[in-house]
Symmetry: C2
Subunit: 202 residues, 2 copies
């Protein structure tokens, strides 16, 4: 329902490079944006306990669990507070309304055990390439060691390819040595310096 | 004109954190998205020759000059081809139609002498913070040494603050030593590893 209301130009941006190659009737593009509120992927084979852990689009009901995952982290603990959900719900609404944003969760029988956000960003560089950008990746401590994170990132790369991206990118804090080895193992190259500047909260 | 047609939910996403604090009439938000096709800033004071170099939103007529700037670069030269503009115009249209994207140029008396893209990305991390992301920064060789790049980046940081971002981020190739010193001097911290993965072109 939400998806079907996206404006045409947003749908085009969302589809990215695919737009470059064909010349479909514009009305087709509305239909081409999926209303994919069901599971996006079943990662059950990654779960040695045999459970069906599914990857699905996040809903407003997941926000508390997602923020708890973000806060349950050496860096996030100082920056995020799941007890103050009111601050996060408008941010969720902004993400959810934007077809260029994809916020997903790993769902193990109704419990959120992982999360990730993927942004699809149009640009002129690299032949006018769309790029996929991965942010806010977390897997619950209870579910680590099952390669769920790996499957989730591989899915994000595949989804970026499906949407026509020429590049997938992410940054990870230099203090996260394990994360760096993880992304290198999955085929990413640490070719760039990641610069950040925190702005005063207004 | 283009701006005034953005959907309400996009306008809300575009405004980011500002949405969290007030509760304006929703119709106000359409009006709040600026139709800013005129100069965004005059950076003339950065030009010792006394000219008025202005920062303005890019138009389709600028795409050739922007791609030429992107290609006139040690890394871009192998990836971009200003002689093949057809590939870039749909990408420009996607950027231009998306209120979360801001592609700007430095204009010196009608000549494009610099460019930069800023993306505004909603997220749940850091208290549900919007972040500003800077990509594809170039200044023409003819105009380097005038601090136009510095003024342009400072403007992007200020604009991110005006839109309620809590963070500004960018990545730069590790081979660009000068760029790294430049961003550190402007107050950015190289706190992150920037990972990229190139996907096969489809």
């Amino acid at each position: 329902m939400e998806r079907s209301r996206v404006r045409l130009d947003r749908a085009l941006a969302f589809r990215g490079r695919a737009w470059f190659d064909g010349a479909p009737e514009t009305t087709d593009w509305y239909a081409a944006v999926p209303d994919d509120r069901g599971p996006l992927a079943v990662l059950g084979y990654a779960d040695p306990a045999g459970g069906e852990v599914v990857l699905r689009r996040a809903t407003a009901a997941d926000v508390g669990a997602i923020v708890a995952l973000i806060a349950d982290d050496q860096l996030g603990a100082t920056r995020d507070d799941p007890a103050n959900l009111a601050a996060y719900l408008p941010a969720f609404a902004a993400i959810d309304a934007d077809p260029a944003q994809l916020l997903v969760v790993l769902d193990d029988g109704g419990t959120v055990v992982g999360t990730m956000q993927v942004s699809f960003i149009p640009g002129l560089s690299r032949g006018g390439a769309m790029r996929g950008q991965i942010e806010a990746v977390r897997v619950a401590a209870s579910h680590r060691g099952r390669r769920l994170g790996e499957q989730m990132i591989r899915w994000a790369v595949e989804e970026s390819g499906r949407r026509g991206c020429a590049l997938v990118q992410l940054t990870t804090d230099k203090s996260r040595a394990d994360a760096q080895r993880f992304y290198e193992r999955l085929g990413f190259t640490a070719s760039h310096e990641g610069f950040k500047m925190t702005l005063g909260t207004t």
